[in-house]
């Protein structure tokens, strides 16, 4: 054992010498240690892990004593500092445990964990359980969590006073074990001001790597929605065309209508100071078809019902029958005309939700006969006889974990356990492209609101940004400590939010690929994300059954909405932005008053260094609706603010 240990350390030193080009010393050492050149050299990562690793020479018996002493110090300190000081206990315990395991004192390590593990905060218990599985050094190499702790510093936010108190204590005691851990593995993010209380700390702690640094959330985020592209010119022509046809006897009417519509547009035309410039990311030009669609959408907007606490939405529920345990995901098109469902058995199925059937394009021969100049060429291209109410897409080789429609409804993306992402055409109903790049199952895929781009999240701890016409990803967002479970485009397409099993929510800039916001506060994996209509807020939810609302301007946690009893898998904002709706495996649909939330949030003084008080409680919950033992897997607001829920009937559990 000891000799083996020596070898790895020696190899590491050798590597270091090589790196700094100290050839003579290297030779000398090699000779002395009897290492031949042919000896297998370890990979860089292993070497670095050794260098930062637990080369402690401390007496295993002293660990417990020094932990107890630290605990006593925390408990005996003043109340205002107590809680902030308490945050150090968990990382110290974890590192002590890992150090003991690494040095072969398994019994001691287990003993330590048994004694002090249960008294840590409840949200750390899961991780502690996972860590306590690690009982040998070679386990540590393959354990994701242990690796994370080993190779990353645990971030603790502390006020200046608290930190100086702690430092004084550490210097006084000169407890080498403790000092070592604190120096090596903890990072203190100091801030000016009053120490936080227990509630404030709890709100933002819980993530694997500790809290977010202040530095992480300093970059400016253009969270605003840019002015819509020339909507006037876009809409003017076709709208008038149509209305002239309809109301030729009444020439005044079109003008009147236009005047009436103007306020709706003008709201958007006012440029948002927080919006990114239009050319910040390159976007392909709109095609005629897209313009038509936009105009149609705009017209629907005027018929939209404004929702609020007084006018609650109607919900139409689509229940998937005979699909117990076989449905994995569902998604509805923006115009609510189609529903795509991904199955465990690798099939993607598309259902139509409108009377119009799903048609395929005509064959090549027939297409030649179509008059390209015709106005309705798009409609003529489709073969009416091929209409079906549902179609299946075969191609994946594993469960399909997510599907996403392109905004123009001609393409569909799906991602699967087989590590691929597939792009399907919903006009000819075949697979167009298979994107390979991820090495592990892909958990989530989303089309950009502008089309063309899409983003994926994977088991391999990365999120990637792709363009439909490129085989390889354009950007690779790495930084999460665990699986990236969900991904969402910001409404302005300039940013991507990811949620991960490391319980952090991250906002990435598409142009630079950097993370611009890091938000901690979830206590278990994040499963779903949703941006508010205004673009300023982000809602996230997951296995911890809580919906957290973040303010992207500073990355603060605004509210914590509790009430669900099982994992939340779908979140959506009403089109008017007044309501937030969440649904989960507990068969409940909860409607939250988002307007009230944002109003109260914006009225408060926001300080960059300090988290405002987190709002919680039932005050924002407007209504709870139950389905009949059908877990909810997708939610969608139609353009007119009718809520569509997709649920799968679970006949067995009843």
């Amino acid at each position: 054992m000891a000799s083996g240990m020596d070898k790895t350390q020696l190899a590491a030193v050798l590597q270091l010498l090589k790196k700094y080009n100290l050839k003579e010393t290297e030779e000398l050492l090699k000779k002395e240690a009897n290492i031949e050149d042919g000896a297998p050299l370890q990979s860089d990562s292993e070497v670095s892990s050794v260098l930062t690793g637990y080369k402690s020479d401390g007496d295993p018996a002293s660990y417990e004593a020094s932990y107890i002493e630290l605990k006593r110090f925390v408990e005996s300190s003043l109340d205002i500092y107590k809680h902030e000081l308490g945050t150090i206990l968990y990382p110290v315990l974890v590192h002590m445990y890992l150090e003991l395991v690494y040095n072969g004192h398994t019994e001691k390590a287990i003993d330590l964990m048994k004694k002090f593990g249960p008294e840590q905060d409840t949200y750390y218990q899961d991780d502690l359980k996972k860590l306590s599985m690690v009982t040998r050094r070679d386990h540590m190499n393959v354990n994701e969590l242990a690796d994370t702790f080993k190779s990353n510093q645990f971030i603790i936010r502390m006020s200046r006073d608290t930190l100086s108190l702690l430092k004084r204590h550490l210097n006084d005691k000169k407890a080498s074990v403790l000092l070592n851990i604190v120096q090596e593995h903890l990072y203190f993010d100091m801030y000016e001001g009053v120490a936080r209380n227990k509630g404030q700390i709890d709100a933002t702690s819980g993530a694997v790597g500790g809290e977010a640094k202040r530095q992480d959330n300093k970059t400016k985020v253009y969270y605003g929605i840019p002015k819509a592209q020339d909507f006037q010119t876009l809409s003017a022509a076709p709208v008038e065309d149509e209305e002239e046809q309809g109301d030729q006897d009444n020439p005044d009417k079109p003008k009147k209508k236009k005047a009436k519509k103007d306020p709706a547009f003008s709201k958007k035309t006012k440029s948002d100071p927080n919006a990114p410039p239009n050319d910040r990311i390159p976007v392909p030009d709109l095609r005629d078809n897209d313009k038509h669609e936009k105009v149609k959408a705009l017209r629907e907007v005027s018929k939209r019902v404004a929702l609020g606490p007084e006018s609650l939405p109607s919900v139409c529920c689509y229940t998937l029958l005979n699909a117990n345990y076989s449905v994995t995901c569902a998604e509805i098109t923006e115009d609510s005309s189609m529903l795509a469902v991904g199955f465990n058995d690798s099939i993607v199925k598309v259902f139509t939700l409108v009377p119009q059937k799903l048609r395929a394009m005509k064959s090549v021969d027939q297409l030649q006969d179509v008059n390209i100049e015709a106005e309705d060429v798009l409609a003529r291209m489709m073969d009416d006889r091929s209409g079906e109410s549902s179609r299946s897409l075969y191609g994946h080789a594993g469960p399909v974990y997510s599907v996403s429609f392109s905004p123009d409804k001609t393409l569909l993306l799906s991602c699967s356990e087989d590590t691929t992402i597939r792009l399907w055409s919903i006009q000819i109903w075949t697979c167009l492209v298979v994107y390979k790049g991820h090495m592990f199952p892909v958990w989530d895929v989303k089309f950009s609101p502008l089309g063309y781009y899409f983003a994926t999240a994977s088991y391999d701890r990365t999120a990637r940004l792709w363009a439909t016409d490129h085989y390889s990803p354009l950007r690779l967002f790495a930084g999460h400590f665990s699986d990236v479970d969900c991904i969402q485009f910001h409404p302005n397409s300039n940013y991507i939010a990811t949620g991960s099993s490391d319980r952090r929510v991250c906002l990435w800039d598409c142009t630079t690929g950097n993370h611009v916001r890091l938000m901690t506060g979830h206590k278990s994996p994040v499963q779903v994300l949703a941006f508010s209509v205004c673009g300023r807020f982000l809602a996230s939810a997951g296995t911890d059954c809580k919906v957290l609302v973040w303010d992207l301007s500073h990355g603060h946690l605004v509210a914590e909405l509790t009430g669900h009893e099982k994992t939340i898998h779908c979140l959506t904002f009403s089109r008017c932005g007044n309501l937030l709706v969440s649904g989960g495996l507990d068969c409940f649909l909860k409607v939250w008053d988002f307007t009230k939330l944002t109003e109260e949030a914006s009225s408060e003084e926001v300080n960059v260094s300090h988290n405002p008080d987190v709002k919680s409680g039932d005050g924002y919950l407007l209504r709870t609706f139950a389905t009949k033992s059908s877990p909810l897997i997708s939610l969608h607001f139609t353009r007119r603010n009718l809520l569509i829920a997709v649920a799968m009937f679970d006949g067995v559990s009843t």
Partner: protein
Amino acid sequence: MLNFKPKQYLITLNKLQYFTPARNRWKVIAESIGIPNLQDEAAKELADDISYRLKHIIQDAAKFMNHAKRVKLMQSDVDSALKCKNIENRPFRFASGGGRELHFIEEKEVDLNDLLQNLNPKAPLEAALRSHWLVIDGVQPTIPENPPPVAKNVQKLESVDPINKKPISETSGKPTTGKQKLKNVETVQIKQLATHELSVEQQLYYKEITEACVGSDETRRTEALQSLACDPGLHEMLPRMCTFIIEGVRVNVVQNNLALLIYLMRMVKALLDNQSLYLEKYLHELIPAVTTCIVSKQLCMRPELDNHWALRDFASRLMAQICKNFNTSTNNIQTRITRMFTNALQQNDKVPFPSLYGALQGLSELGPEVVRILILPHIKYIGSKIETHLEGNLQSNIDKIASSLIKQLLVKVLAPVLKSLRNPPDNLDEYRQEYGYLGAALHVAVAKARAQPAAVAPAATTCSATGNIATMGTAIARTVATPSAILQQQSSAPGRTIVMNPGSRVPQAQGNQKFVFVQQRAQTSSGQVQTLQQQQQIVKSTRAAKSGANAAETGRGFQPRFRPGAKRHDRQPAAGFRRAKTELHDTAEQPEGTPQCGRFVASSLEVFSQGEEGIYIFPTNLCNLDFHTPCEVTVKWVEAIQTKLPMCIGGAIFGAERLKPKHRKLYTEKYLPWAIKTGKNMDFLLNIYFEKRWEQNVQELCQEINMVPLKLEE
């Protein structure tokens, strides 16, 4: 490293949560793959390592479960997790030889027999999409697709402690200071009244459902019962439904209205079947009602003819279902019910046979154990009691039927019990000695039961117990409606009651048929005139056979306490009724020229009290008119002239429109002049208090009210 025992891993998967490496287990596994002596040290190392890796895999598998949006870990998740770890996971068989290692999926041998007999599992159904309104403007509609608005446990809480019932709208935004103050002062918790307000829609629903349940249309009834059994939002009107049922039973038992009792019991059945209702609260009302239908002395008008036994059987099954669903250690429903039935058995001579039958049936439905403990000891006495009726011929017919049914029942339920109770050599004498009169029959039945294969015998009893009760109820209704076969045989004897059942002839009018009784005197006794008293007798005996809502309507003399039926329904089948009457006119050949031979037609007692409709029937009798359209129109004319009521005038004028040419001639020549004359001369018909005149001779009455009988044959 891991790929050598995947199967074992899977076996231990479910224990992994609290997995402790048991070294012995690993030794056993090692032996199973051909390593005989695993060192303790090695076993420990292996156990540690494997358990770590297993936990690791499970953790990963949980990720796949989460992303598949499930809460149940499945084998495919473990497969995926293994795949991610780059572990060859598929093969569950491993073979090596010749320096090559081979993994393969074990293929099971397929038994062709299974395939041929179609025993292989069905292919899973294809996923289908179904839409419904979960919420409309913030309100959840109470449709079967949605969960019940108030869950069962909440209903229970409400019933136990109504203070818990909170209005939904008042949950938030109320100042709490006042409340806290109250709490300090309030020492006695006042039990609030639980109110169930019904919306207009619910009231309509209630009306529709109750009408359909006891109305005449069988398809509508089926729909209504289906709705009662499935709809989730009924709890608010449950108290009213229960009141409807118990009041209905109370009234109809008094009136011996079998069909209605059956309908009401079917309602009880539907309510019992509804999963979303918390019925415990109303059992104290329902149980007596059901019990009544089991043990009541008389449930129908003619006990010797009507199949009230089926009602007793049905109600017994309901009772058994109630016991099964609601019996708890605190309410002791089953104990109380068995005690009640047993009391009936022990009351010796006082208990009439139908009640005895009901009690026995009720007990026997509760299972063989109850039969063994509570019926068996009484068997000898019951045997002797029914013997006198079955063997001797001095007793009445009713008791004889009852006795034979009791005998059948006892033999049926006791045979399986005795079969398991007694040892094979069955001695007839022993049986006689122990079970008295029934001994012989039981002996035969037990012997038969023993001869049958073991599986069949108990199945026979359970089958009857769990059979489709709903269709049973329908069958009962039918048997009530069609007793004509038996009865028409009797009609050959002069001086007997002829009962015509138009239902059998007019099938579409099923359920509405008003039984028409024709009292026919022998021709030799033509001089005698029937009295109203006799009519009343007939009418009384008719009531039993009447189905549908009409029958529930009570006469003027009776207080109309309960009107479950929908009057509207009565009107609609009038055509059927008339047709029936016309038929009667055609079939029951009436000797010509015997005007004094009264032909009395009474629809039901209600006809005398129901104004318009009743009046015309009575005068028709009185006027010695036949029941076909011209005669009815004629009577309408009389009424129209006397009462000047628009509906009578309308009936008179428009009724005439429907006449056939042959009748029209007769009508204009004979009936109309007579009607006008009579209408003018006769005393005011509505003033005649018919109930006071039951005893009176018809001719006398005619003279008294200045009515000249119409003579057609001249």
